[in-house]
């Protein structure tokens, strides 16, 4: 009976903690491999969205054009605020967003001058198979 009570309190289906540790690492290893393979080889297109609220200044790529990893995709204007001496100083900063992987530009969803909320799509890419977008 005491054994049953002890067993009912256990949070594991494994024989030992070491088995459970190995199982956890195997599980994570499998999940990482699945995610990486899915993103590298299976996912057909990726949508690159606005990194934060702001304005699209310029798009550096063209539809049906090719882009390499690290090349600029678009410029994005964001409002940076600096709190100094009890006052908020705001300034507009233009950031260049680069491509995480090489590939073909399928579609440009937004146009320069658009005010976009964080996550709103800007560019749709068909990345090179085997790379991580």
């Amino acid at each position: 009976m005491a054994g049953e009570v002890k067993k009912s309190g256990k949070m594991t289906v494994f024989r030992t903690d070491r088995h459970e540790d190995v199982a956890a690492m195997v599980l994570v290893g499998c999940l990482v491999v699945i995610v990486l393979c899915y993103m590298a080889f299976i996912v057909p297109t990726v949508t690159v969205g606005a990194p934060m609220d702001g304005k699209l200044v310029a798009v550096a790529v063209t539809e049906s054009g090719m882009v390499k990893k690290g090349e600029p995709l678009y410029s994005f204007e964001v409002k940076e605020k600096k709190w100094s001496q009890g006052k908020v100083e705001e300034k507009l900063v233009v950031r260049e967003i680069k491509s995480a992987a090489g590939g073909k530009v399928l579609k440009i969803v937004a146009k320069p001058g658009d005010e976009l909320k964080k996550g709103k799509p800007i560019v749709v890419l068909e990345h090179e198979k085997g790379t991580l977008p």
Binding site: S8, G9, K10, M11, T12, V13, F14, D17, R18, E20, D21, V22, A23, A24, M25, L27, V28, L31, V32, V35, L36, Y38, M39, V43, V46, T47, V48, P51, E80, K81, K82, W83, S84, V88, A100, A101, L132, P133
Partner: protein, 369 residues
């Protein structure tokens, strides 16, 4: 279990596991978005912003409700095997947490900030270990409390618990203690900061060091200065808080070593022997993920790949936390006594006051980074 065979064991796991996954799916798909859009006290998303109710906390709460209300205090036989996968998911989630950090991210914050935060983290851990042993607390409970008070509450408590074999009720006690302390400091700190004419940088540094929970650091900084922007209290508080969070693997490793060293002495075994046989090797997996993240093998920061990876991680953690909640027996908490509360409050207050003194005397009003 023994007579079922591998296939039978997997079948036995499915009902309980399905309940855990289904619960999390409902929480993430329906409940959390509903809370984010609900207007309470004239504020949209009050439940999320003020009470910090996210799917993680909800998962634990619903798990607790399952056991203590729905199941009448005991997980039923049909769900028991599934709920026993809890620790597997928690450990897998902790391993995946390693992907949040890079060796480079530490370098950005500055040596002095790191030194100060680490001093407070490990100083608090030593204090909790000393006081806990003085008061005769259980070693597992001391380990979890030390991690929670030293680093940043819930994450550290959850990350340390499997390594020191803590019971779910221990983790629940620790979380309740530090969250209670955090709520108190959330209301007091902004008044102290204004009264002492602290700058945003000083206030952020103090709160980021002295308050135990990440969400409460955020809320306290916003109460002091509601502006969310670089150079405000919340920006500085979060930087200091992030450094503290980064120390989780080191803290888990240190506390694990402390716990298992004493086990070795108790069993008259060598430390090397006990580490070889019992050291929780999933911690190595955590560092493995940090290494992969540092070399960019799991996608660049901001990439769709890393976004998906973190989404998977949040699901793994969430499933484990539904189970974790279901192993919290409220009757056990009631019988645990007031020692953890005393130790937690003593450590929290000491850290809070000493951090204030250090910041006031040694940290300049202007930011150094």
């Amino acid at each position: 279990m023994e007579d079922k065979g591998v296939f039978g064991k997997i079948i036995a796991i499915l009902p309980g596991l399905a309940l855990m996954v289904g619960t999390l799916w409902v929480l993430r798909t329906w409940v959390e978005p509903w809370m984010a859009n609900t207007v309470l006290f004239g504020q949209k998303g009050w439940l999320v912003k003020v009470l910090s109710l996210n799917y993680i906390l909800l998962a634990i709460i619903v798990g607790m409700l399952y056991r203590n209300l729905l199941f009448g205090g005991k997980i039923p036989a049909w769900a028991e095997e599934g709920f026993r996968t809890t620790r597997l998911f928690i450990k897998a989630g902790v391993i995946m947490l390693g992907s949040l950090y890079t060796i480079q991210s530490l370098a950005k914050v500055g040596g002095i900030a790191i030194l100060l935060i680490m001093t407070f983290v490990f100083g608090t851990i030593f204090f909790v270990m000393f006081l806990g042993r003085l008061m005769g607390m259980d070693r597992s409970l001391i380990g979890v409390m030390a991690a929670a008070c030293g680093v940043c509450g819930v994450s550290a408590a959850v990350a340390t618990s499997p390594a020191v074999k803590a019971k779910p009720s221990d983790v629940a006690l620790v979380i309740a203690t530090i969250l209670g302390f955090g709520i108190m400091t959330m209301f007091v700190s902004p008044f102290v900061g204004k009264a002492l004419q602290m700058s945003d940088y000083q206030f952020g540094a103090w709160v980021g060091t002295g308050i135990l929970n990440s969400g409460q650091v955020l809320a306290t900084c916003l109460a002091f200065n509601p502006t969310i922007a670089p150079g405000t209290a919340v920006a500085y508080g979060e930087i200091w808080n992030v450094v503290r969070v980064i120390s989780i693997p080191f803290v888990v490793f240190f506390i694990t070593m402390w716990f298992w060293r004493a086990e070795a002495q108790a069993e008259h075994l060598s430390l090397a022997g006990i580490l070889k046989d019992k050291f929780p090797i999933f911690v190595i997996g955590f560092f493995g993920m940090t290494f992969l993240s540092s070399v960019g093998a799991i996608g660049a920061e901001g990439s769709n790949t890393l976004h998906l990876m973190r989404d998977v991680m949040s699901w793994i953690f969430g499933i484990g936390l539904v189970g974790q909640g279901a192993y919290i027996d409220i009757r056990e908490i009631k019988t645990a006594g007031g020692k953890p509360l005393k130790v937690g409050l003593a450590a929290g207050c000491l850290k809070y006051v000493v951090a204030l003194l250090v910041v006031m005397f040694f940290v300049s009003k202007e930011s150094s980074f």
